[in-house]
Amino acid sequence: MIKLFRIDHRLLHGQVGFSWVRSIGADCILIADDDSATDSLKLATLRLAKPQGIKLVVKTVEDSIKAITSGVTDKYKLLIVTGSVADAKRVCDAIPEIKSVNLGGIKKREGTRQVSQAIFLLPEEEDMLHELAGRGIELEIRQVPTETKTIYA
């Protein structure tokens, strides 16, 4: 089952591999990211960041969706991370089981609006998030699990 679905441009790092994994009791991390799945150095870097005793799978967004819908991930307490709002929207569109999205970190870019300390959104990203919120999906901003949830939109 999916324990946490997170958007974080840094994908797998200390906040995720240490704090979130423990907080939600995850036993498997799925990184749904096209670049990481196809770039060998990026993949190796993620493998190095893998917490001990936790399974790590890195797939393209499309292959991630296929894996989740096929049922092979059902036996895991799964933490899914995507690197962008657009990728997260693709996953949410395909997997209606996802009822909550954790906004962990989205970096500043040209034209973004700062929404919280670590969340910067382009207008088109805000549109996508509003669409998800309109479907009843919770969009909560937290870098680490001990923070209080701030709800976006």
């Binding site: 200390g14 190796a44 190095l48 399974k55 890195v58």
Partner: protein, 141 residues
Amino acid sequence: MEKRIVVATHGRFSEGILTSMKMIFGDQVPVECITAYVDSGTDYQELFRRTVAENDYATTELVVLTDVLGGSVNNEFTKLLDEYPFHLVCGLNLALLLEIAVCPADTIAEQLPSIVEQAREGIALVNDHVERAAEADANEF
């Protein structure tokens, strides 16, 4: 059982590593820090002694983390091991501190040896690791 963590270092390393810890882990585990030898008017030997002496060992496991084996902070705490049943760990780094912070108080005494061993594995020449890491385990469910 309760758990008390004290980080004691030469200078402000202890303060700095706490800010790093909070970034990753939030603000949930209290950690005391000692920035040794920063103030020339303070008797640090006495401060170290007071730190371990004031602990109630019947209710509280005390873990002291120091920066470097052979440094004076660690040397001074080592001298106190005869008198007080605290745990002394040197070679402070962030992985070590985080693992100690999340370890339940009831099992910290028993888990400290493996926490230290695991933290040792976190010190690595990454250049050599990165190729092996790519082929380490299957990228499938």
